[in-house]
Symmetry: C2
Subunit: 395 residues, 2 copies
């Protein structure tokens, strides 16, 4: 195999972006786009306007594409509910999968996908492109190596996801329980929910959340969330997300007994205590003293190779040139966090212990799906997503 | 009356500071210190070492001081539980009162103080010196005049109250339910809890909180709090406080449909939208667009005349030269917030509607007072409080 032959399932904004901006511009070194699939054949016209589609086969049924023999790997860009079943079909055929975030809508379906991945001979990864951003990588390294001592608190304000009402009218599936499975948590925040546990190096043991539904927009799902997390070691954290505020904030602060990391927009600051603050507290004889602290570094201009990296990595991994950067099965963690926040919101802020009860979650979700205003017949609009990915610029 | 004659009840760190640093250095223009009172007569020796005490009478019983005829106004610097009953004794005698924060430990006793103030011929104010800080004044003015449109959210991280274990051993009353009535909320945060409602211009309708008790120190009260507030118009907010983190953060962000205010350390930034974001959301035809926004100003070096202003204002108000800056009865608002957070913490994060049920609160508090490790016989240590007032430098 010279180059890995990729297929894209789902030509929404994201699928079209990968096709025309990454494959179309030769950014995927060891991969070529050999097929695309969308139930809406009009999408192929949009693609043809954006790039030279010579050599690309078009399908409207993705299993036909998988069975055609013309793809080695697939980018799953279908609606959220379909990510797991679509990925499972690929994995069963030993076709490698890059699954778009979120891994799924509820953990039960993601677990099934993970089981299929474990049994498959194919590679499986998640499009967690924000894991390639230097600030988050540095934070993870510093925390993982004990650079801020014992974890005490995180606060992540992610309110820079402003969306207009028009955005929500761009697709019948958008912001509906039956079509999308949630709001800001499932659509805008999968990156942050993944990064949260990846950067901190652990999942919380419990979650409480207050979710407001259709607070800033005429939608049925949540567009404003405040969540409180507790970790095994007692550390706590707050996660705040909204699509109704402008100008928003993207500020992720993590504090520990050894210091503090502050990531705001594209800047990362690392403050380090000369002595551990909890040790200092026990031994210092003055009441108002605090340990000496230094700013170890401030880095600005955080960036990363983003989506292109994830696709290049898959191609290279298939060719045996490098290991997979992300084990796709980790996608369940962000879905777990999202499910815990939604469930707590539905249960008036009750404390939800992790892992979330799969059946209880699905039961609550299904009540909302049954009453959903989702219109399966509504056509999706393709959005100009330039500058739309919240906070950190895409590479 | 040429100059208003002040008495100080309680020569702890704060009482000594007012005596020697403000009165002793002639900073109170229209006031003189004519008497001080402390049950611990050894405190008078400390005062004598710090200032010339000629003309100052010493008392160990504050009612004797009030009845001596040598004071027109009093600074109430006793332990928290005693603020209301002490102030009531002053007000009953038509002696003007500057009450140290907090106004009291529970709203029931503060309500009684407020009733005494309403019936008294004397003036009554609270030592809310942080209301004199320019940043907070500007924030209140901008929000009050509609400068950020409809209030949507606040986030106030106040984790720069680091205290060592030694601090908590400096007085038998400290950080005990029976001696002090609470932890970080009642000792360190009364300023922020007052400023919160003063800056925003309204009280929340409900509060939820998670409080951790003795998390970072060997104490019985809370030293780590995360609270969630909801306002009448649907706006929400998070208030985070700790005495166990270093380096801490003091960052107060308030966002609305018209823009955002960001007060961090001694800097204030005001971002203003060219059009209201909620209006923009309804009318814009693009999904990913956001209203244009400008940084109207960034002010640094926030400062204020602080404690000296409050005492000078009282002297001038007594002399009829200016109105009182703060109606002391407003002190109940911060106590209400604190009580709501404590009660929610005790009730496992339950939503507490305001106003807090006075009787329910006292019942819960009394259970903790009965089991408290408070040692009334322990002597208090006088602390060097330089640089201890968290975040904003004192003037």
């Amino acid at each position: 195999m010279d180059k890995v032959r990729f297929g894209i399932i789902g030509l929404g904004s994201q699928g079209l972006y990968y096709a025309s901006e990454l494959f179309g511009k030769g950014i995927i070194n060891n991969g070529v786009l050999s097929a695309v699939c969308d139930v809406d054949v009009a999408k192929t016209d949009i693609l043809k306007k954006r790039m030279d589609t010579a050599g690309i086969r078009f399908f409207s049924d993705y299993t036909e594409m998988l069975d055609s023999g013309c793809v080695d790997a697939v980018l799953v860009e279908s609606p959220h509910y379909l990510h797991p079943p679509t990925a499972v079909e690929c994995l069963k055929r030993d076709i490698h999968v890059i699954c778009e975030k979120p891994a799924g809508v509820y953990t039960g379906q993601v677990r099934e996908m993970n089981e299929a991945a474990a049994e498959s001979g194919a590679l499986f990864t998640m499009m967690f492109n924000q894991r390639t951003i230097s600030s988050y990588k540095r934070m993870r390294e510093i925390i993982g190596s004990g650079g801020i001592g014992r974890l005490q608190r995180f606060t992540w304000i992610v309110t820079n996801w402003f969306r207009t009402q028009s955005y929500y009218q761009g697709g019948g599936w958008r912001a509906t329980w039956a079509g999308e499975g949630g709001g800001v948590l499932i659509n805008q925040c999968p990156h942050q929910l993944d990064l949260l546990q990846w950067v901190l190096g652990s999942m919380p043991v419990s979650v409480r959340a207050v979710c407001d539904y259709g607070k800033w927009h005429d939608i049925e799902v949540e567009d404003d969330v405040t969540a409180f997390l507790r970790f095994e070691n007692g550390a706590t954290g707050v996660f705040i997300a909204s699509t109704g505020e402008a100008p928003g904030t993207n500020r992720f602060e993590v504090s520990g007994s050894g210091g503090k990391l502050l990531c705001e927009n594209d800047s990362l600051k690392y403050f380090k205590n000369k002595v551990d603050s909890l040790e200092f507290s026990k031994t210092c004889e003055r009441g108002f003293a605090a340990p000496e602290c230094e700013l170890v570094f401030e880095e600005t201009g955080a960036s990363g190779p983003q989506h292109a990296f994830i696709i290049n990595n898959m191609a290279d991994a298939v060719l045996g040139l490098e290991p997979l950067f992300i084990d796709g099965r980790e996608g369940i963690k962000g879905v777990e966090l999202m499910n815990a926040m939604e469930l707590s919101g539905w249960k008036d802020g009750a404390e939800i212990r992790l892992p979330v009860d799969e059946e209880e979650y699905l039961e609550h979700l299904n009540i909302r799906r049954a009453a959903s205003r989702f219109d399966p017949s509504a056509k999706s609009r393709v959005e100009d997503t330039s500058g739309a990915f919240g906070g950190v610029k895409l590479g």
